[in-house]
Symmetry: C2
Subunit: 361 residues, 2 copies
């Protein structure tokens, strides 16, 4: 695969421009290895979801014997991954715009491309693009397994749409997918929703078999349901992404993953018991809550667009000192940055462009 580093730069984290997005490479590699351990021998593959970081240079590091390809949420992400040499992409999302479908189909010249559909309209759009690009596109019928978002309602609708796909030139029916949503609170509802999703996908799997429709792929699961997906006999691939960087609100689920992402900021103002950093909501997403400062002396009291204010117990750090903040939400934070730095301890190893940042269209 192609080189995706942007080249050399500062040797130490403290010399990086501020704010800087930083992946702890030891932690990242530990997470990738832990995920491989989980899927190895389970009969399930991992298809890392790259919406987490939109960074081909990280996606490449997540592939291996049980992770041949990636999952994408947008055509722009898929384009970035194929341009970096990844030759197997699933767009786990609905495409109904001919322009986007044409872009996706063109990727079919360099990569195996699969896409989700939940409507006849979507099938027609994808088929038209496949014909124009003279490629074949694999299709998964998307089923709503409890999220109430995209997806057909159940096995009967899935079989009906699967038959349409199977009868459409240049489309190859591969199976089904379903996403149960973000299930992070370790409560009773969580177990019920995971069970509902598993039952829903198993029913579609059986219905496809009964109808004589191919169903080699049953794609589902995220980091929050990783352990359940590995144990599910129907699921053939897991669309987890966050596992590689981890998020703090996943800590109660018994997952073998550790936090790997921080934003390094700089002290720009100091006063009695208070320091102000040069990173705020434009560098750290607070959609799901504020970040956590790593120094034990620090407590976040406010975060604005360009500033984070900390109460500081003990001797204040000097002007220009670096302070690391752990974002609560990895995916939305990556989407604010054009580059990410890989570090081991204080040492900067590499700089990667977040190629698909902002590529939602």
């Amino acid at each position: 695969m192609r080189q995706t580093s942007t080249g050399s730069g500062p040797a130490k984290v403290e010399d990086l421009p501020s704010p800087a997005l930083i992946v702890d490479l030891d932690a990242f590699e530990r997470n990738v290895a832990a995920a491989a351990d989980l899927v190895r021998g389970s009969g399930t593959n991992l298809r890392p979801h790259v919406k987490t970081h939109r960074t081909p240079g990280l996606a490449i590091r997540q592939l291996g014997p049980h992770a041949h390809g990636v999952t994408c949420a947008t055509v722009g992400e898929a384009e970035a991954m194929v341009a970096a040499g990844i030759d197997d992409v699933l767009l786990a999302n609905e495409i109904v715009s001919p322009g986007k479908a044409d872009r996706l189909a063109r990727l079919g010249r360099d990569a195996q491309v699969a896409v989700a559909v939940d409507s006849q309209y979507g099938v027609d759009v994808i088929a038209g693009a496949a014909a124009r690009a003279r490629v074949e596109i694999a299709v998964l019928v998307d089923v709503d397994v409890g999220l109430a978002r995209c997806g057909v309602a159940g096995p009967d609708e899935a079989v009906a749409l699967g038959r349409v796909v199977a009868g459409t030139p240049r489309l190859r029916l591969r199976g089904t997918m379903g996403y149960e949503g973000r299930l992070r609170a370790a409560n009773a509802e969580r177990g019920q929703r995971i069970n509902q999703a598993e039952v829903g996908l198993a029913a579609v799997h059986r219905a496809f078999a009964a109808a004589g429709l191919p169903c080699q792929v049953v794609s589902s699961g995220g980091t929050s349901t990783f352990l359940q997906a590995v144990a599910d006999p129907d699921i053939t691939e897991i669309q987890a992404g966050t596992y590689a960087l981890m998020e703090t609100d996943l800590a109660g689920l018994g997952l073998p993953f550790v936090p790997a992402l921080t934003v390094s900021a700089m002290v720009i103002s100091r006063s009695e018991g208070r320091v102000v950093l040069d990173a705020g909501r434009k560098s750290i997403s607070c959609d799901y809550g504020p970040p956590t400062p790593l120094p034990p002396e620090a407590t976040l009291t406010a975060i604005n667009e360009e500033h984070t204010t900390l109460r500081w117990d003990g001797e204040l750090p000097g002007f220009g000192a670096r302070v690391e903040l752990r974002p609560l939400h990895v995916r939305l934070t990556f989407n604010l940055h054009d580059e990410v730095w890989l570090a081991r301890g204080d040492k900067v190893i590499d700089r990667l462009p977040v190629v698909a940042r902002g590529r939602s269209a």
Copy 2:
């Protein structure tokens, strides 16, 4: 000033890529004119804050007889503005990194540059950069007028730091600035905080005069305090930015501004009483709350990274139909997009690059 349009594109909003960030140009121009009406004859100038949109092509449209220059929050914003031909920038933020100070000082070769300081350390860093670049940099002493973020504590500290600035080669003391923060809730605390800020700045103004320090500039205020700042005899320039695009939570403050920003998304999935759009938290900031769909039939029920789910009362829109969403927070939403489209009604007028998007470092 230089051409900042990126050229021609689709002629109609419905033909834009989805999601697309859209400025209603009629509303934007109405807001710019209303702001000019407010400052005209008041003795106060407007210095539009470009952190709102980070877009030189919009900033240029906000300048005029009573708005000669812009306010920036980061060096990267200032670089983008000067590169577009704007020759008067205030960096209303603390700079303590020599690398950033050098970048700022280099702008002093093409533009009048002013910067805030709240520490001797900061003065030394700015002075060193000014000497290296062989330019003069104007300085405002930043005062904490109630936000408890950056700024010196009060008039005595301001005078002490002002004397340091006045005695430093290549720095030119111009006055003071203070930011009272986001005051949007129309309650009693709001009035108290505005009053506290006004009293605080007036005290610094008087103290500078008594100490024989120059104080031609007293820079303060935002959109939420626009009317109070115009009426304040001490304030010489208002750092408002949001006024040009407006935000819905400012509606209760009696301001003459109207909302001008939307995100146009596309219907990608439909089911009983529900449609799903292809825009989510990666295109519309939800840091301060979710967006509002413009069609009266639509009620937002969920917003995820790439999807917005709407309950739809009445006949569902077709696949591919466009739906506009009004973001609650303009500034964080702009910072997610690389380009913004200007439209009058359904007609697309221009496309502007959001040049300083992501330029927090």
